[in-house]
Assembly symmetry: C2
């Protein structure tokens, strides 16, 4: 599994912006278009900073009632109409030209086998990745880790794509994954320069041991193109729950570190539950179909399709919760049976989250309901994360404008 964070790029355009409009599930089905007249006005969209502005209010609601700030009129959680926001913050720019350079990467973690074997298959036979306007490039991101069927050899590759690491001087003793990150940065980026040479989109394929079904990891609500792609996938696979997780915690200033951050844009597909080192046919087939549908969406975009605004239910990462531990740092307990496998379900304060080996329950001490994800993900034990807390939001995603002056309306 992986969660990813995108570095906010140098501001090139503020014409597109995803606008958070409320917490919790709304009455509208995720992915359903907004009714006429509810689409954020161009003025609001141009204003920028909506997300960060609203976050202050959302976080206030995670504090005890006595200490909460009074939300400003119109900005309270549940408000569905976006308001003008402070200007100056920029989004991931939507593509202004057809996507020609697209990569599908598997095996960024060598024991997440759906992506490993899809990449290997496509490297032998890439026909599935061809579309009329482009051919996606398959990449086995960490062949050494895949050969060893381990997440990584020396360090987590998908935490290695920071500018700091990528531009550091190479030495003979560099960890394997740092060397490989530089190679991938050269192949798919480079990230640091903001060069036009970078790939237009990287779709990175992961598995999780958590019971997360299909989860689409997008860096933030500002990534309009990735959210439209996510919505397309939700509509294409209505029979399978397909959730969107915004990976960047609120007000995080952390530099992006994931593989897809080297390209102009990207997204992670995370499928589970699947044990590390196991290839399940059902999950393999679902991932294959999701990739095909993602490429179809890009082809539609390249052909000049327009995509209208819509509202979408998303989960936003609030940070990790560690296991109970002994004084020497070892586990003192495990995920509670009442929490196990209940990804995306509400967790109320006071509910049990861990069961200690001594038999004692550990209760959730947060102030408000959260929606845990990546519950009991194998790869996170070493990162001291038993699950991620998220908040559930409804966001408004602005239209994705067509590339040509005479777009084809597809939705």
């Amino acid at each position: 599994m992986d969660r990813r964070q995108r570095q906010e790029p140098a501001c090139k355009t503020e014409t597109q912006w995803a606008v958070a409009v409320g917490r919790g599930g709304g009455g509208r089905r995720p992915g359903q278009p907004l009714a006429a007249g509810t689409c954020p006005s161009p003025t609001a969209l141009l204003a920028g900073r909506q997300e960060r502005f609203l976050l202050g209010n959302l976080q206030a609601h995670n504090q005890p009632a006595s200490s909460r700030q009074v939300p400003q009129a119109g900005a309270q959680p549940g408000a569905r109409k976006p308001r003008p926001t402070p200007a100056g913050m920029c989004s991931v720019p939507v593509p202004q030209a057809p996507l020609r350079r697209v990569a599908v990467t598997g095996g960024t973690h060598g024991n997440e086998l759906s992506g490993v074997y899809l990449a290997r298959h496509w490297l032998r036979d890439p026909r599935e990745l061809r579309r009329p306007s482009f051919s996606a490039t398959p990449v086995l991101a960490n062949p050494a880790a895949a050969a060893a069927c381990r997440r990584y050899v020396d360090r987590d590759l998908n935490r290695t794509f920071t500018d700091t690491l990528l531009v550091s001087r190479a030495t003979p003793n560099d960890p394997h994954e740092l060397t490989r990150a530089r190679e991938l940065d050269q192949l798919l980026g480079p990230k640091a320069s903001g060069s036009d040479r970078a790939f237009d989109f990287v779709l990175d394929l992961h598995n999780t041991t958590a019971n997360m079904g299909t989860c689409l990891l997008v860096d933030g609500a500002h990534n309009t193109f990735a959210l439209h792609l996510s919505r397309h996938l939700q509509l294409q696979f209505p029979e399978v729950p397909c959730q969107v997780l915004l990976t960047r915690p609120p007000q995080s200033a952390r530099e992006s570190f994931s593989l897809d951050s080297v390209a102009k844009n990207g997204m992670t597909v995370e499928l589970g539950p699947q044990p590390q080192g196991v290839l399940r046919a059902d999950i393999f087939s679902r991932m294959r179909a999701l990739v095909a549908s993602a490429l179809d969406f890009m082809e539609l975009f390249n052909q000049g399709a327009a995509f209208p605004a819509f509202e979408m239910e998303v989960y936003r990462n609030l940070g990790g919760e560690d296991f109970p531990r002994t004084q020497d740092g070892d586990l003192a307990g495990m995920v509670h049976p009442q929490l196990q496998d209940r990804d995306y379900e509400p967790l109320q304060p006071g509910a049990p989250i861990f069961q200690k080996f001594s038999g004692e329950d550990v209760l959730y001490e947060g102030d408000s309901t959260v929606y845990p994800v990546f519950i009991n993900e194998a790869a996170y034990y070493e990162k001291h994360v038993a699950f991620l807390r998220t908040e559930k939001l409804m966001i408004s995603v602005p239209p994705l404008p067509p590339l040509s002056p005479t777009p084809t309306q597809v939705l």
Copy 2:
């Protein structure tokens, strides 16, 4: 996960013998005592070799009908009354004295976390392992692998307990697990000498990624004590399917290699499905309860309880089935969705077992119905095993005689 094979010991007694009486499920519930009069006669039990004698007939039924031998009267599959058998083959001797030296080993594979964390917990607080007549010793079998959360560091520890390896001369370049195997052999054995110093019983704790529920791995139908222990566990946990797998393939001459083979007797508890590197509370609790119940059984035996004969349904290992592979040895496909998670269910010739990445199905080409287990076990990819074929048998297990002249009848 692990499957184990026990070296047949030097013949000390032939007074106990498990007698195979037929293939497939019988009308009697597994673990149910034989009706009066159906218990194998002392004559039959003393005769020995019943299992190997019957195997010839069972194997004949795995051949095409045209080439089958005609079963001898009374020995055909489904016959429920044991017959006199050739003499000379010996069983694992049943204990002639109370079990005083019992070990419970976890972390023989470092990423099978139920046993790892049970062992670590008991090393801190061993009270659960105490009984009036003995205290079981907790052992973290491969601490280095557990610390790395890997199956092993250099080689599979649970394939390293052969006489050949254990008595080989130590060198500074020995694999980590060979050094550790020698240490464990000194602690729990030694195996080679047949010394009285060896532990009386080793209960080795494993997990599998396969959908196997509770599986008790016993080396063969000759291991009367382990089969009585297995039956006790089945009766104690009637709500959870609890199967017995005889691990030694028919007519195998392979030397035993598993950890518990260093002791006088032993058994492996295998619980799943659980991903490698994940600790599930439900499986942890079940393993803990199974160990407690196993120790209770040993206490009953030590206190002089007698255990009557019974019939039992078991699965016997017939060998592994590899994945379809490319010319260079890589996977060309995966376990078929129709087979995935269907451990212990009948697999008919002609049924799909693999789905190739090209989309083509691979059908089972065996001659007769088998019962796959360890389907899609992560640790077996490197061993070229997608699943183990087994046959389902009903066996008669002779009584376990009491230690004292005035036993307590407990069942």
